[in-house]
Symmetry: C2
Subunit: 355 residues, 2 copies
Amino acid sequence: MTDPLIPGATIGILGGGQLGRMLAVAAARLGFRSHIFEPGANPPAADTAHALTTASYEDTAALTRFAQSVDVVTYEFENIPTAALDVIEAIVPIHPGREALRISQDRLTEKTFLQELGLNVAPFADIPDRAALDAALVRIGTPAILKTRRFGYDGKGQSRLQGPEDAERALRDMAGAPAILEGFVDFSHEVSVIAARNAAGDVACFDPGENVHRDGILHTTTVPATLSAGQRMDAVLLAAKILNALDYIGVMGVELFVTSGGLIVNEIAPRVHNSGHWTQNGCTVDQFEQHIRAVTGWPLGDGTRRTDVVMENLIGDDMDRVPALAREADTAIHLYGKAEVKPGRKMGHVNRVKR
Amino acid sequence: MTDPLIPGATIGILGGGQLGRMLAVAAARLGFRSHIFEPGANPPAADTAHALTTASYEDTAALTRFAQSVDVVTYEFENIPTAALDVIEAIVPIHPGREALRISQDRLTEKTFLQELGLNVAPFADIPDRAALDAALVRIGTPAILKTRRFGYDGKGQSRLQGPEDAERALRDMAGAPAILEGFVDFSHEVSVIAARNAAGDVACFDPGENVHRDGILHTTTVPATLSAGQRMDAVLLAAKILNALDYIGVMGVELFVTSGGLIVNEIAPRVHNSGHWTQNGCTVDQFEQHIRAVTGWPLGDGTRRTDVVMENLIGDDMDRVPALAREADTAIHLYGKAEVKPGRKMGHVNRVKR
């Protein structure tokens, strides 16, 4: 374990989207500078960061200079090319670590890891080919969902099967990508736990939030979630189990299905998470600062929930609602500074707090 | 009245200190970009801003380019040279406006303005020379305090007189600068009102805070302040009276002495104010966002106080306390990213909230 970084140190952030932007703000609040690495032009995170490198993840020279200019590297998305990580890690630590990335980059690896930890997951099967799919449909049944093993998010790379007759179409939807079949889970609702672990091994979880999706994209997160005291404790304990098993450093989002038979882990994300945005207006220390504290070797902060909050994402044309939202009482607006409004694009969010 | 600025617009901020830094964060939260203008190197505000111009306030070409690159200009300190304001205002609006700056830049003008508004101020006299000082000492009595009319802050440019025999020393302390003499006020404590007014003429005040100074520098602000319901209403009404009289746009800090005979206005600052930092952890919309909303033509936000807060400034070596503060529950740390620790220098602050 190394010494905590002191204010004035620089945090390298891979990815310049809204998560990187809000991480950079939290870093500044603790006196750190942020350096953003992002291939795209005009990244939202550059507006709140000390430095920006615009380069591709294949640009070894740029990655090297970036790594040399910072004291620690973290990231806002999990699909970072392995070769880029190798370049960086030879120079400076990366938190959360490689193992968390390896596991969360591949749905099959992730499901297997969670199952081996003794946690409940949806029935699943590796689908390298049509024969495997046919066999899995017999074992798991329908409805079921075929998902690419890698690079899926916000409902992309997924295809539903109502019956065996959908097998060919679903496989075609994968466009040749390695896939897994997941059985449907009969759940009442989805919750997520935003959990943090630091280098000292301390774990802290924010109060679980209840998530509602629209068109495969998170629509709202509500705290407190509908959970019994026992379910709430289970949720926090299983999240801690995952973080400890990975010797994890940083914030992780753990999505859970609530069923009559207990909690089922849907997926994990080794980073700050959209369903944790409510913490900005519900806690003294939010998920972004908690992540920065963890990756810089600081003690975790006080993430006690202080009020009820409903977080609502602003997607695409929801931006037209901003003037009306600006007049609402009990409402905090968080916009991402994205130049272009596109359908399905996350443009911002609002946190509505209870008076 | 002009249309509200829409997200993506750029706010020019004169001054790159901690107030500019926290204004830039608030601007980003609403989707705006910030462009900092600051003569000094490595300004704290640059770490959270989209753009930085490093130039002096005498550099007309740099001021012109700066003004042309932004949609509105605001500032974090009131002593901006008039000629610089002339250059900028020919290109882009400045909020708060020139009249507020003119009045607050000069203690004599400020006191006269407040008195003419019908508000109570400490007895004062213009001191152009020794004869004026002698006459004023007879009228106002001692103890009294001689202050430079311009450029004083954090206790600088002030000299106390215990009796007429101190006149010569005090006048020498002014080093030839125009001065005013102020009579001492027998007050129980100091409070401040952070008030906001937007282009539509809406006024909103944060709950008054109670200020304690050490060595002439703000040490703590506590909300709620010790005030009767009547005093609290008086404080808010007189702040509103000041903002309305100036057709003010933005946030203003109004410092008040609480006496048995009522509230006495100590001074006004046409900007976000150190005694309003508690709002970052006490309100859904803080003073920085309220200022950005006002200067961009947005509706004012919900500044309702949601919890009790004690704000404590971290001055100079208080930075050594950060590791311990980071372990405190109910405590939010806000550091300014200043490269060098100096005695008396404001390095950050903490907000302690009530559980």
